[in-house]
Point group: C2
Chain length 527, copies 2
């Protein structure tokens, strides 16, 4: 039996002088540099090198012998002269040597820019970052405990919330403005606007309509105050799902790919197959097919514009074969997502995978462990940009503000583990141990402890670490309740003015912006 | 935006014939062999080989130059003739070559027996298992949302609950019978009894009193029906904390170690230091000291009885340096626990580490992710017996029945990830992909899917994988609520009769058993 005094020895000791020293050092709140985005992963290797080679080789066989169906005319036009072939069935096949050349010549590292350069994210190697994503059609409502259709203001609110979450390194569209789902242009232009209004972290969204991209760029140039400014430093990735599994192009999204390639701006892809439904039930087979599908789009990008940044969003999803439903929170999902990160890193390709996708309907223990397991393994595998994180629930059917802040805290823990253990003469601490054993017998007094306090340890913003008595005295709240308080506080206070008022006027003059100025200020009745 | 139809394509298809086939195959409930205890970990390697050697070398320096204080006479008596030295300060020092010999000669693999041999656990290599532990002094009460002092019946109830949890591979004492804490013998003998009455999985408990062990063995021989039977196949590990950090022996527990060594029965140790308090704040230093402390006890065991099974329970705990409190749910804890598993495997020593120790007070999202992250990394690092799992909350201050069943489901996910991805010609699925692309276009119809359904996928017992509508129609419950229903059902039904009535009569005649027979039957008013 371990007694409370053993576990909390400093409490028992009540060593005022040391506590005072600690308090003095921290100045009312501890700042630590224990974690940051971009720390290297790669210490988890689900696949052997031989496994990786076999998956890759089979994926190349698929591209050469089966190919991708329904290639659009603009893809065929560029691919055939460069060595791709059309099969008898009209499928676009990539000979092995062509695909190997395209992989070799592809972009291996790039900067995912942010409007505020301090938030730039360096993609490549085994550097690990987390971002939101999901484009859910619902917000999980804390008060009613129901999923209600998401609206434009929700997208804006999730962006402002993410702006204040230290472990969310980039923002990709969380929810759809469902009230505008009938008008794709109004939806997309307002979604873009809501995101630049809410955060200056690196941004991304999908659009199914290549024509929208010119308008996006015009709006972003107005935001930046100068024509041509956006293309010099594209801080908003566009993308989508140009593949319909198994192994077909989806026409509209494929044209967005072609458009981005022609403009030479990053393309942010998500190829989301589903094992047992639109991909093989065998996990290895689902990796083969989905990796082949992503390589095909990488190929198209590089046929048009060699070396343009391309984020390998290979997202093999898992089904629960009892019902056929998608299950993003499974152990199988953790495995295939981390295997894809490892495989992408093996070939030096910038990776995005999906993780933190709970099947639970609310931020409960199930959501916690499903997210924790998938986030941990994909991060440890060294994924560059782990998507669908922070907020997503119900197998991507809803986003929750409260889950966003809980997940941010969780990602902190994961990133602390990613950082690993520094082993040096100093940290091995032989002298510290001897001094203490022969001296006070307690490490709290040792200068190393004071020093390490701000470098070795992460102090979570939300997680409860008190005693049962303390917990009881503060209302016996669970993480969902504690998170709700934090959400209300951040969203009532944080109304950033990232869009210059003069630029805003020009944007609103030219584009049908429906996000009301009064919804972008305190006192709007939402928070 | 991913639409519900994309994510749930089989729902949309309503392909009755295939659904019927699936249903036929599963026969009303799917049995899968997707996971089992003992699958190999080792794919997560937090430390480099050089890091491991440096930690090990420094630990040997500590044992040689600083040594362990307060050695008991029986330890000194056996250690000095074999080459250990007493320092001027009276500390027991192990010369490097002596310790290396002791490690070389120690037991590397052994069977953690169970009363039912079908539940035997093979310890060693990088085989992964999970067990309960904690010896908490409270039960978290679902109804009142409070931690109340745990009682003997609670220990019995947690044992019978664990008996029905497929991913809990072994049972170590979960809670203390606090009503008997004044009488160590009555406590210990009843704790032993409650555990053999509740489960036939491999068992373990600590005792601070070596004299109790003879009584334990007598009781277990009565249980087995023959004198001497227990020692032939010891299915109950005894142990404790023979080290008081930093680097001192604790007299009573050290004598339990000596007793087990003399009897040649497995010793199940836990050396629980606390970084920043009773060990260095530098994580590497806390590994050095705690590993040295465990090696010292391994040394004592092997000086007395070379090759006796010894479970290296190196448990470096983490403090939150803002308050000095233990924080078992931190990312730092996940790191040091998995590093210890890796280090133990590197030297071929059977390992137990602590994980799944949330700081949250109830089974909420925080508990979920803290447990998920620590369980995942220690399992992936290849720990043989991951302890403190299933049920523990509040930094080991309480055990929760509901958390036990939630954690069991979580461990299933972790073990599915541990199993990894089989890469073979068959699983790579080239032909399956080609057949499907050129045929029906959907994998649900493919024979591989039906076959893989029962081998490739784990179907959780508790996790909610339905739609929001289904969730709403069943009462909008969270994991804690769903778990409570399952706890009530199992504990109302599962009253195993593992102790033969005749043996029970003999046991009760000889020992002061206070667990009432009426508390071991349905209708006792508890469930």
């Amino acid at each position: 039996m371990i007694k409370e005094e053993q576990l909390n020895p400093t409490r028992r000791r009540r060593k005022r002088s040391t506590r005072e020293k600690l308090h003095e050092q921290r100045g009312g709140g501890i700042r630590t540099d224990a974690v940051r985005g971009g720390m290297p992963g790669g210490k988890f290797r689900p696949l052997s090198e031989s496994d990786m080679r076999r998956i890759h080789t089979t994926a190349l066989d698929v591209l050469e012998q089966i190919g991708i169906g329904d290639p659009t005319p603009s893809i065929v036009e560029v691919a055939i002269p460069k060595g791709a072939l059309l099969s008898e069935r009209g499928r676009l096949c990539f000979p092995r040597s062509l695909m190997e050349d395209l992989i070799d010549g592809s972009c291996k590292e790039f900067t995912h820019y942010a409007a505020n350069p301090a938030n730039d994210v360096e993609i490549g190697g085994d550097r690990v970052h987390f971002r939101t994503c999901g484009e859910a059609v619902n917000i999980f409502d804390y008060e009613t405990r129901e999923a209600r259709p998401s609206r434009l203001v929700d997208l804006y609110d999730t962006a402002r919330l993410a702006d204040r979450l230290p472990n969310v390194h980039a923002f990709c569209q969380t929810v759809v403005a469902t009230e505008h789902s009938e008008d794709a242009f109004v939806h997309d232009i307002n979604a873009l606007y809501a995101q630049i209004a809410g955060t200056q972290k690196p941004l991304a969204m999908s659009t199914a309509t290549p024509e929208h991209i010119d308008h996006f760029i015009s709006l972003l140039d107005l935001y930046l105050g100068r024509e041509g400014a956006f293309l010099e430093r594209p801080f908003f990735n566009f993308g989508g799902c140009p593949i319909v599994s198994p192994l077909r192009f989806g026409a509209d999204n494929a044209e967005v790919l072609v458009k981005c390639a022609r403009l030479g701006i990053p393309y942010d892809i998500a190829v989301a197959s589903q094992a047992g439904a639109t991909a093989p039930a065998a996990l290895a087979g689902s990796l083969v097919q989905t990796f082949a599908e992503t390589l095909a789009t990488l190929g198209v990008m590089n046929l048009i514009s060699p070396g343009t940044p391309f984020l390998m969003g290979t997202w093999p999803f898992i089904s629960d074969l009892r019902t056929g439903s998608f299950t993003g929170g499974s152990g199988e999902q953790a495995l295939v997502s981390s295997a894809i990160a490892q495989l992408s890193n093996f070939y030096g390709l910038p990776s995005s995978v999906s993780a933190c996708m709970s099947d639970s309907k609310l931020p409960d223990a199930q959501a916690g462990y499903e997210k924790g397991i998938t986030a941990t393994l994909t991060a440890m595998a060294g994924c560059n940009l782990i998507g669908e994180t922070a907020g997503m629930l119900g197998s991507l059917m809803a986003c929750s503000f409260e889950a966003m802040v809980i997940d941010d805290d969780m990602i902190g823990n994961v990133m602390r583990a990613v950082r690993g253990i520094e082993v040096t003469d100093e940290t091995l601490s032989f002298d510290v141990i001897r001094d203490t054993v022969e001296g006070s017998g307690h490490f709290l007094d040792h200068p190393q402890t004071l020093k390490m306090m701000q470098t070795e340890y992460l102090y979570p913003q939300l997680a409860d670490r008190g005693t049962y008595d303390e917990w009881k005295s503060t209302g016996k709240r669970d993480a969902h309740e504690i998170a709700h308080e934090r959400v209300k506080k951040i969203l009532a206070e944080h109304y950033p003015v990232y869009i210059d008022p003069a630029a805003d006027a020009r944007i609103r003059e030219r584009f049908p912006i429906v996000l009301a100025p009064e919804d972008m200020k305190p006192g709007n009745g939402r928070w």
